[in-house]
Symmetry: D3
Subunit: 239 residues, 6 copies
């Protein structure tokens, strides 16, 4: 069995990270995982949502969207339909949860960082690319808060990155593109931090159930891929 | 460390399953997992959604809701607010996906079974109780289709059940109630079928990441709990 | 002419009232009128809507819903459709108005009691059963406010109950079930208090108009039925 | 006790009916009951709603609105708020039901008449004025269908009119204006047809319950008022 | 080429302005431009929108609507559809902008005037008639603020009026009615003040582009028409 | 008076046009006007909206959006708010109208081209940049229809481009950036085609009215700027 992209089972796609992609946001990153391209911006506000008022802590939240023609056939624009799909809401809840795991909300003070992840071109793995890219934009936003003297300590606990794994034609594989994702037997998204701790695991069988053995093989691939992504994040932040 | 409920780490709550709980639906089940109580009904319609028209297969879909005062403090009624929350949509997508894994949609013919899971009392684990209860209601609905001669084969592939596991004060535990769930370090929902195949795994770290070792311990507990639930389902169906 | 249920013209269905039906609400009642089953909960909040702020009085309000498969064929879930139907709004306005007539809002202090009436099984008369059941839940909520010392006096003026009457095949009858209701010439809902005062009368001709004589016969039946319901409420509260 | 308007207890306000008030609709009536002014238009469509397709009958439906500044203080525009209030929906359901009682839907053929009742100035009794005015607009629309040869028989069964009655400072009174309506102990809307048959009775106690005796006195007033309104309708149609 | 209405190219329709058309609003005008009839009311509130709080200035805003059967065939009611069309929003933004140009918002103090323009009969030019009529209603509302002593200076800078011009069958014409508007090659709405200053110009080619020469001819017509309308406004205000 | 950007009054910003910017759409253009950046995609569908079914013609329509942090401070995401603002609707109606003027809809056959204009970075003039960029994407989509043999003739009538002009500190200027636009006395958007025909003129006074002389000066600037943009479009299409 070979993969449509001819990649090795444990080979992820080429990652390209462009910081300061747009000019207004406190953090702005274009992340490309192969043909998947997502603009991740981090916006800082010096207040918190109502449910956190006066609790002496900050908040990290995320929103996700796809341009209508980021995909093979045009999707309805959610703003025109008047609501976000269940999928969109599920993804933006996942991104927000994952990035909150990277931050000490007390050390952030009563500030909110909103991460907007907008997919301009989709080829599988948009939610995991969003997490990986948004983490860098978030770090840039945190650094700007520090430089402006708004916060003194460092709320960043650990870098966070994410990747998808799956079982494709019986073979556990890393970083599925759309051609694989749309026919894979199992699709799993994994979020981890730089120390190897697990933050989210979401695995779904599509048509065929998966075994504990397959699950372990997928998690091994995810660990490898996430370590490489965290390396790429660090290089981008150091450049 | 002891659990608030004094249960053993691998001990699930008492399960009670009442079939034919209401009189109109083709399948109607009240499932109680301790103090969590969910009414699961299965409704049959002799048509399919537009995207499946003419494809010679059926469809399984789910909707989920909580009565406003099923919880400790009253929640807004989603019908009055005019939209379902992201959490609600995430849960009903999970229920639908899980139950589709139990069914051969071709053998169902061009029929739709809608599973309504309405929580009348909540004490943690409402989404997993919904899956476990809805599977029984779905079987009753499938049996009614067979008895009415609408379908000839048996679309049921395997019973499906679900349970939550987590890490509570450092200890992997089975079937968290609200007291545990609201303070657990990790919360994981697992859906499996009667043959032990995995259908969904959704694990989330809350504040502290989890390790591969903890993940394995949680999956062991889930396998045990789900086997017991499938036993309870069978007893209910045989009674 | 005989009724589908073989009941006498002036005979209401069996009423069963279960207090403390669910565990979280300040008042929680399952009321069954024959096959019609409604969960009525009363939730207390120590504030009032904006239009009453600072006026030294409380508020009683109601919401109503039907589980999608409480009826013979499945109805759309209002939360999924994104709005409550005109019928739902009409009913919840009626329930709220009726129960406010039972209470001295000044004596309630700046507290709000929200009555949620959720139909789990429908066989006609769901709005009147909701009023009769919600009144008991409301009394339990008022008693809890008194026991917690939040209010000193007694805001309860009078018990309130409701029943439907109609003209079925030319005969005035009490407490219509669905089989009668769906073909009756006239349908009338009556709300009264324990002293026999009238709170609401809503009569509608369906295809054939009704006369003053028929109206009087229906009101006589309603008076009898409501007196019996108030008796049943008292027994439930005393048990 | 005297009425704010100095009218006798059984004296209704001056009624003025202007047919052909606007030029596009098949029926267009401005009805004035004292200072209450409502534009009622009847629009004909040669089709029926989906639930009536192929059943060989027509449909009558109604919509109701108030201009934002038809009232003493400006109300939000429902189109801008994005939904109709419960009160609006209740009223338009009442208007539609009342006018369907005036028509043989079979004789109407597969045509729909939509009655739009838009209040341009409000001083109490807008829903009853809407019914009385819309009935005339509907007759004009039916006559246009007959003149165009679309229908051959006469679907009009009987003229329908409506008026409000109430108990004001202990005295049953006819046709309440806003000054009375806002402080009355009981408010009742009555819809009847030209033969004296009752179509709708909706009575509501506001703070004080009402007795059978008061109810009868109110219904006597309503019968008198509606007979006068039907007279006024006939004069308008004959002019 | 002659116009459907037989008017001269530079001849506008008959304008009729009725002040105090309804009784509740601080300003209420019925404006008729031929068969186009719009009720314009001005409502005063002693507060400003949130974005202006504490800035020591007032606000002018507008809302626009059409009765469903103001047009040749019935349109959906926007309140029932649950949203205002893009056209409606575009028009009400235009009306608000145009009238703000007539007022010194500082001199208005922290008061808001809301202009509701409701079309009861449409025959082309409803947005321009709305601006012309609303300006008079606004003046009446400003005068009432002055008479009540709420404001001392005069916030009115200049009267504002509007008219449509277009190219119809190659000929620049003034004040298009529906018969012309629906087939014109160019449609242009012009808003000016009493001193001849231009406030808004919105020209649109429909099928055929227009030239600078045609544009100038249209603007000449607009200047003439607006001067006549401002004359008519003054007469109405002086009567 | 000098411009914030130090540009000459008749000097537009640098224009950069990148074709094939994303990979899925039939036409995909990134247009940059200085710091304003808009992704314009053209999507082809082989059907038409309902109101054009069977009329033997095609349709061009447009949607517009801004990424939440395309601007200096983050805006709410319209998909999350559940509706498009009036400004958004106004702009997308303008884009659609403008591009329909460039096409012979009969020659397009029963196909629809949807133009999505998504602003990723905003610095004034986003609507005019959208029109200029979308026209190129539309041409690419039309060429793909011709290459696939779906249509035989050429529906493109003329290239269309747009630019903003205004009066800034008393001086007519071309192509306002945000610094100018936010304080200009007049803002005017002009759409023209390659033959110099005018398609749309939308001029708005902000605080100070404008004269016919200023209007003519602005239109002269617009003619110059649009000629240059059409030159740039041609170069991009030829490359």
């Amino acid at each position: 069995m070979s993969r449509p992209s001819q990649r090795q089972a444990n080979e992820k796609r080429l990652v390209t990270i462009t910081r300061n992609y747009t000019c207004h946001a406190e953090g702005s990153v274009l992340i490309e995982m192969g043909n998947t391209k997502v603009i991740c911006t981090a916006s800082v506000e010096d207040s918190v949502p109502r449910f956190l008022k006066g609790k002496g802590q900050g908040w990290i939240t995320a929103e996700y969207g796809m341009l209508p023609r980021s995909t093979g056939s045009r999707m309805d624009r959610e703003a025109a339909r008047g609501k976000q799909s269940g999928r969109t809401q599920e993804i933006q809840r996942l991104i927000g949860r994952s990035l909150r795991a990277a931050v000490d909300l007390k050390a952030l003070g009563e500030n909110t960082i909103t991460l907007d992840c907008d997919v301009i071109q989709a080829d599988g793995g948009t939610r995991t690319a969003s997490i990986t890219g948004a983490c860098i934009a978030m770090v840039d936003a945190i650094r700007s808060l520090q430089q402006r003297g708004v916060i003194s300590g460092d709320p960043l606990l650990n870098m966070v990155a994410a990747i998808s794994v799956g079982v494709y034609q019986g073979m556990p594989v890393l970083d599925l593109d759309y051609a694989e994702d749309s026919t894979a037997e199992t699709d799993m998204n994994v979020v981890m931090d730089a120390s190897g701790g697990m933050i989210e695991v979401q695995g779904t069988a599509e048509g065929v159930t998966f075994s504990r053995t397959e699950m372990n093989a997928m998690l091994d691939l995810a660990e490898k891929g996430i370590a490489e992504l965290i390396e790429a994040q660090q290089q981008a932040l150091n450049s």
